[in-house]
Amino acid sequence: MDTTSIGRPDNDFIQDVLGLGGEDLKKCYQCAACTSACSLSTEQNGFPRKEMLMAQWGMKDRTIEDPGPWLCYYCGDCSKVCPRKANPGETMMALRRYLTSYYDWTGLSRRMYRSGIWEIGFLLLMAAVVIALFTLPHGFGFGLLARSGPAPLTHVMLDRFAPVAIAHRADQILALFLAVFLLSNAARMFFFLTRGRKIPVGLYFTYLPVFALHGLTQIRWKSCGSAETTKNWLRHLFLVTGYATMFLLVVIFLPWFQVQNNSFHWTSFLGYYATAVLLIATTWILIDRVRKQDEIYRYSHISDWLFPILLFLTALSGILLNVLRLMDLPMPTYVLYTVHWAIAAPMLIVEVPFGKWAHLIYRPLAIYLAAVRNKAEELSAEKKVDLSEMVA
């Protein structure tokens, strides 16, 4: 770390972190007990004391280049051992919220993280758009007043209410939208974490498996300190398999998964698995958040509530939709189909590129880039040694 200058403190940055959950960070007196208590903190990547200092002193430029907040899985050992009750664990969470909003170039994320009204308002707006698409006359070719005439009310004929070809295309457009925003934000993160560093290009390829491993398994979480770690990690892993399954079903297999009448298709089994996982895991997480027993669930920002609640409601409306369809209740099926969309689409639009869900790419990217950076530093240190040997 360059210790010659710290620059001017960025007061807005300090205020942002204080407001995003780091309100106790100014109590920190830099004793460094947190870093030494952290089981994920290493010689090359020590945290969270460094992050506490950067946040206290308003060192925004260093913070946005720092992978530290994403290397933490929040067991809370640091907060337990903190002699000042400065809550380094929650400050790391606040920094993740800050970074999520900072990586986002649209500024939308920043507004939503700083104001619950913005977040809920934006969700409701998106929901209104979805409902409008289904209810306005001739609204883009589907809905009750579809161009092909009203959907029949004698039996469920989902294809007449929401033609699967259009729904599928809508899903793909949505997925593309999410990918464009999320990847552009991730690109910004990539830029911040690598700028001004001499990194041999080959390293980016050598370490790609690190990205894949941690993106898919979150295995690093397993080494985290808390007694609840294995439970939390496994629960999260199941949650990942649940939404990944659902994502594939909706974006790729919708023509089969969206069954048109009260018949049955085998893809529903995959849907049942995903639904069960999503319902159980989100309920369990919400219960833990209410109970506040685990250090990780003691403090909840509004974003921490909205994400699991929306995920839960998406799964719940999805499975009820399936029940109504099998019971051959046309009108309730159509209404719930609209509701399901009006929950799921806004959730995805808000959470994936701008909200908490964005960590699905930020975390593995940080772990990967931290490994790349560490290796690059090792190599340049070796080179320096070589040079000094030559001089000698």
Partner: protein, 424 residues
């Protein structure tokens, strides 16, 4: 003890609770203003905690010689009435005129004792020696300290073998009475000075530092006893797991101090105490490497000079960074101490033979009567008339400051005495 109280001075007494360096100083100072003092001490000997130290800082000399001088002054001073093994049971009355009821536990040994030690030789029972933090044991008939005052043995009846009277039979001086009963005594005093001192913070409460779980983690108080000639190892500093001299020692500052989970305050003495301990450790074991982990090195006032002297030769490695974790290598008993060097940002896990936890001071206010008002941390505030704290029960301090504080408390107590005198 002999008490040459003059009738004219009846009602002008001061009661001092605690016979450590603060209590003794307050008592002697008050008598120098012609006041009579009853000095009571809970244990069987005066001396308190300071005298248990191997050395005290910044002078780095044994505290026992200073204490010997104080004992001399008490011995020659007819105005001080010392009662050991005594506690204040009840306090009634108003400032200027208190009635204090003292409960005196039996010593079972009287002034005939010559310290010949025959009782201890024949004694079949043992007890843990709390002076040595339980690191050694004494017989049930024991000499409370090499410099005990009064200079007599004592018998711990709770540790005795039922029905045994071997000591009585062995004593040639008829000094032992196993049937002695507790007594009560009432004194009239104008003011009470509580110099009840401190306890070391219970290190087992600091779970991450491993005390009680790792054999070679000791407290600063234990270290002091190990270095002391009268200690459990006769002055040899040995690590507990294998009784070998340590080759590396970690000094862990703020073990439970400045910590919202333990003691929120700074005890002000532990940094200097640890620096002191490194000096005699290096003298005894020149090969031993010492590392001191700190949050801030606090050597207030003139102690800054002490800090400069001790650290000048670089023999102590100073690391800014609170220790977060101590773990034991079960095979060797070695300790893995984890900290972050805050100045470089490097997290380190280092192997040490032994670790010394600098535990802080907890004011000992247990058993004080109502009327003494502790502050939020338990230290006495001295805001109430007639009842004053002195020394470490008032604020955490080293020996010299304790003596000054005791002098101040004695002066305030004297003001109560003078107010009760007839004018003119």
């Amino acid at each position: 003890m002999a008490n040459a109280r003059t009738p004219q001075s009846e009602g002008l007494d001061i009661l001092v609770l605690g016979g450590g360096v603060a209590g003794i100083s307050a008592a002697i100072e008050a008598t120098e203003a012609s006041c009579n003092v009853t000095l009571i001490e809970k244990s069987p000997t005066l001396g308190g905690r300071a005298v248990r130290n191997h050395q005290y800082f910044p002078k780095l000399c044994p505290p026992s010689c200073g204490m010997e001088i104080n004992f001399q002054r008490i011995r020659k001073n007819p105005r001080i009435h010392v009662i050991t093994q005594a506690e204040l049971e009840r306090l009634e009355g108003v400032p200027g005129d208190f009635q204090a009821t003292l409960k005196i536990a039996p010593r079972h040994v009287n002034a005939n004792c010559t310290q010949c030690g025959a009782c201890a030789v024949v004694c079949p029972a043992e007890r843990p020696d709390e002076v040595n933090c339980g690191l050694s044991r004494t017989k049930s008939a024991y000499l409370p300290s090499l410099t005990a005052y009064p200079p007599w043995y004592a018998i711990d009846r709770q540790a005795c073998v039922e029905g045994c009277h071997a000591c009585v039979d062995a004593c040639q001086y008829a000094a032992i009475d196993l049937q002695q009963q507790p007594e009560r005594k009432t004194v009239r005093v104008a003011a009470v000075v509580a110099a009840t001192g401190w306890e070391s913070y219970d290190a087992t409460k600091i779970a991450n530092l491993g005390f009680g779980r790792c054999r070679n983690v000791v407290t600063n108080v234990m270290m002091e006893r190990m270095a002391s000639l009268s200690g459990p190892t006769q002055g040899k500093i040995l690590r507990p797991s294998d009784d070998q001299p340590p080759r590396s020692v970690a000094f862990v500052q703020c073990a439970g101090s400045r910590d919202a989970n333990h003691l929120p305050y700074c005890s002000a003495v532990c940094c200097s105490a640890s620096l002191k301990q490194t000096t005699y450790l290096h003298r005894q074991l020149p090969e031993c490497k010492t590392t001191l982990f700190y949050i801030d090195l606090r050597t207030p006032g003139l102690l800054q000079d002490f800090y400069s002297k001790v650290t000048a030769d670089g023999s102590v490695r100073l690391i800014k960074g609170k220790v977060g974790k101590i773990e034991e290598d079960a095979a060797t008993g070695d300790l893995i101490v984890t900290a972050e060097e805050a100045l470089t940002g490097k997290k380190i896990s280092t192997r040490f033979d032994m670790a010394v936890l600098a535990t802080g001071m907890v004011p000992n206010t247990q058993g004080l009567p109502e009327g003494f008002h502790p502050d939020e941390f338990g230290f006495l505030t001295n805001e109430d008339k007639g009842l004053y704290g002195a020394g470490c029960v008032h604020r955490p301090s080293e020996v010299v400051s304790s003596i000054r504080d005791a002098t101040g408390a004695a002066l305030r107590a004297l003001q109560c005495v003078v107010e009760g005198l007839p004018r003119g």
